[in-house]
Symmetry: C2
Subunit: 285 residues, 2 copies
């Protein structure tokens, strides 16, 4: 396994690999790897000749009052995990390497960036799209692997790739969960013991909504009200950012379930203490 | 020469060319080819194995009250010129092929898109960047050729390519002029005989500014005032959109010429009747 810090070196390596006819899988991460990331690496290893793991905590996707500075970082532990998983290259540029001084260019997916997580994080997806497109241009992967836990991110990246004719196949990978249902996230580290015990409530509320839908409830507003109530009753939930039921294809809100409804996205973001957690599930009817 | 209308076919062709080790030159145009375009084609032919000429009048770069509908189009004449110049492929998608329904993704170069032409054409450069990046992704060129007549466009595309780590070399090509100095432009077709005769005043005012600078005038405001007056006195000039003197590297305004000033961009946009024309010159000191 080789660690690459420079864009120019990464470009040269991927250029050579492409000339040799190798397929490249990219697993873009912000590091602090957990089993969710490992499942992405495994999927890349299975379907591509060479796997590049990028580790970059992208400042452009954090708002001014968000957790960019305290976001957990542990390159040594990440390297060990990557080596164990037989990652071929870690691409880990620093901030000044990734964004030179006076960076002015941003990629944006209109409308989809204003709903759900975008409501409270208005610059987030612009930052995500910009860094992902940069990584695609630098690494030139055939496939890139993203977790379904960040469902809106995945939908926005797929839309960007389609709209801009980017030649990268986006592979969505299942969310990996703790035994109690909590979705793995590097941010789970922020939770106190008590908060961690209570954090499973987020996924439980989503499963509750799924059960309501599957047992015939068609009024979205009624389902949302019950789930919001369930979440509010837990004293560790300091704020419900959103609890939405949407069309997973275009992220449009669903008002009422009818015979034409084939699938639904249930997605929520809540604050457990000061930690913002997200989760979702796609329900097939 | 082959005409390609579908993105998928163009991608397949460029993929095959790249696999065969051929270098690809892209000349992106909106058609209605003139000697300026031909000079771009010739430069591509000289430095690349294969030349792709794209012809696409890009709706995303026209404002609601601009000339998208009346923009001149003549595919037959363009094809003849392209064949004569031994273009290898014309890529000419139609609007629905280029932008599918519900296109939401745009690329923007902040700040640079708000000055000069961007002041009166606020969505113009967003549309240009988006279509150019799409063309780059579809055609996958080694080099792309742009005219210096659209100096701000060139500067913005170079910035986008740098900021997003796009692997395309941007080649800027000299403006081609009529004997009286008027820069070639497809929009010159809009001019009446009398307007055409008077249109050379735009370049003359730029040469006048150059002469002022070269003969020791250091006050930009004085130079601008004289040039604006010169333009205003011509009754065919209906409006001066801007007459700017800027740093050609970063497009920042220059207030005063001093010993540190190495080069200047003189750029202007005016309306001759209802036709908006632009021109510029870079002056080395």
């Amino acid at each position: 396994m080789k660690v690459i810090n420079l864009k120019s070196e990464m470009k040269a390596v991927s250029d050579r690999l492409k000339k040799d006819g190798k397929s490249i899988g990219l697993v873009p991460t912000m590091g602090y790897l957990h089993d969710g990331h490992i499942s992405l690496i495994k999927q890349s290893k299975r379907s591509c000749d060479v796997t590049v793991l990028s580790i970059f905590v992208n400042p452009a996707q954090f708002g001014p009052n968000e957790d960019f500075n305290k976001y957990p970082r542990d390159f040594e532990a990440d390297s060990k995990i990557a080596a164990k998983e037989r990652v071929d290259f870690i691409f880990a540029p620093d901030e000044t390497e990734m964004y030179h001084e006076n960076h002015l260019t941003y990629v944006n997916v209109d409308k989809l960036d204003r709903i759900m997580c975008g409501k409270s994080r208005p610059i987030h997806f612009k930052g995500v799209c910009t860094v992902v497109l940069k990584l695609f241009n630098i690494v030139n992967p055939d496939k890139a692997f993203f977790g379904k836990k960040d469902f809106q991110q995945l939908a926005i990246i797929k839309k960007m790739v389609k709209d801009l004719d980017v030649l990268v196949e986006i592979i969505d990978c299942d969310t990996v969960r703790e035994p109690d249902g909590l979705a793995l996230s590097s941010r789970n580290k922020y939770l106190s013991t008590e908060e961690r015990k209570n954090a499973a409530i987020l996924y439980k509320s989503i499963l509750f909504a799924e059960n309501e839908i599957k047992t015939g409830q068609t009024q979205i507003s009624a389902i949302r009200r019950k789930c919001m109530e369930m979440l509010s009753l837990n004293k560790f939930i300091k704020k419900i950012d959103y609890f939405d039921i949407r069309n997973p294809e275009n992220l449009k809100e669903i008002k009422k379930i009818d015979s034409g409804t084939e699938k639904l996205l249930i997605a929520s973001a809540v604050y457990i203490g000061t930690t913002r957690l997200i989760d979702n599930k796609v329900v097939l009817l």
